[in-house]
Amino acid sequence: MNDVILSTLPFLLDGLWMTFKISLITIFFGSLIGAVVGMLRTLDYAVITYPLGAYIHALRGTPFLIHLYVIYFMLPATGISWLQFDAFPAAVIALSLYTSTYVAEIVRGAIQAVPRGQGEAARSTGMTALQSMWYVVLPQALKLMIPPMGGVYVIIIKGTSIVSVVGIAELVRAGEHATQRHPRDLMLIYGMTALLYFAYCYPVLRLARWAETKFGSVRLPS
């Protein structure tokens, strides 16, 4: 049992490294898209808010697995040259879009949780709408966004497990390979994989909990 652990651990750690990379890239792009979508959704223009609402509902209403397959199989089949990508960009794009829906709801919730009077006071001192957003509303909203973002990061980490189906050598994939080498130690190997995920996610969840007691929070829409 010991030598199975010793011989598979390096593979699993390689997989964990890949999981780590994908989750970091995804939280960056997902937050970027989500922040823009979320801020635009707080505006009062139906032309903007309806399509963005449809975007969020379409992604929320379908499993992530579907997004991944649509982006990985359907887009390259269109024949458009810049849509021809490998598994890795497909996985990152799909995960980022999926993440952006969560981030957008958090950003919108946090902005709307800042009392209206704050923005109005800023406008009354002569600030433009952008200035009041940037200097007055956002700094206050940012604190409320921190705790639920921890939850989103954990959702991303767990989401990376699914991209193993398009052939990305992340943690689950590494575990699958290891079980082919040691088929009798399935339980042990998947147990180790679970433990590595736990070691990555649990501190993030604890940190989010700590941030929540410190900064307060907006509720994550389920």
Binding site: G61, T62, L65, I66, V70, A77, I162, T179, L186, F198
Partner: protein
């Protein structure tokens, strides 16, 4: 009209309609059974979480944290591939049983957090009033606290149910035929990703729309949600 057939050949979809319908039905009853498990597990662990006995609440808290910190896919693999023969059953779980149990245990952890929030939101006076008429602890829970708690957190519970339905697509990885599996059949037999996955996406969106309107109804009917 050729470009439509090029992009989305509805004739092929029509030909596979029975397959998609079978998948939709399979997704529905897998989700329903998993929902039953998750609500029972969620209620029990929520009550355990609030126990005064540290061994009991630590166990419940540990369960919730372990589930929340590991991906559903690994939980599915552990329960289906790695679980040895069960002594009571005399055999290993088959893929449908394994999938339903894994889904139920996974969702149960999230449900438990919601239900606990619901129970904690019921004012202390309710418990005191129930005690003053001589109700025992199980009676108080059964007749006073839980009905109010469930009414209050019905909308988030329904939201979590929508997540559960989407997550059920992952059981196709352990070889269960459901909605997503129907898409895979079309992909493998006809090599038509658009027809396969757009159709599946539409089916999931239909389920989601139904869930949204049920949630909206529950919100209106039961007043503001606390969870």
């Amino acid at each position: 009209m050729d470009w439509i057939l090029d992009f989305y050949n509805y004739r092929v979809v029509a030909q596979y309609l029975p397959e998609f319908a079978r998948g939709l039905g399979s997704t529905a009853w897998i989700s329903l059974l998993a929902l039953g498990i998750s609500l029972s597990v969620g209620t029990i662990t929520a009550i355990m979480r609030m126990s005064a006995n540290p061994a009991v609440w630590r166990f419940a808290a540990g369960y919730v944290q372990v589930i929340r910190s590991t991906p559903l896919l690994i939980q599915l693999y552990l329960i289906y591939f790695a679980l040895p023969a069960l002594p009571l059953l005399g055999r290993r779980l088959d893929e449908i049983e394994g999938g339903i149990i894994a889904l139920g245990l996974n969702a149960g952890a999230y449900m438990s957090e919601i239900i606990r929030a619901g129970i904690e939101s019921i004012s202390r006076g309710q418990t005191e009033a129930a005690m003053s008429v001589g109700m025992t602890y199980p009676q108080r829970m059964r007749y006073v606290i839980l009905p109010q708690a469930f009414a209050r957190v019905a909308p988030p519970l329904l939201g979590q149910t929508a997540v559960l339905i989407k997550d059920s697509s992952l059981v196709s990885f352990i070889g269960v035929f459901e909605l997503f599996g129907a898409g895979l059949v079309v992909l493998n037999e006809r090599l038509m990703p658009n027809e396969a996955f757009l159709t599946v996406a539409i089916c999931y969106l239909m389920i989601y729309t139904v869930m949204l309107s049920v949630t909206g109804y529950a919100k209106r009917r039961l007043g503001g949600a606390a969870g």
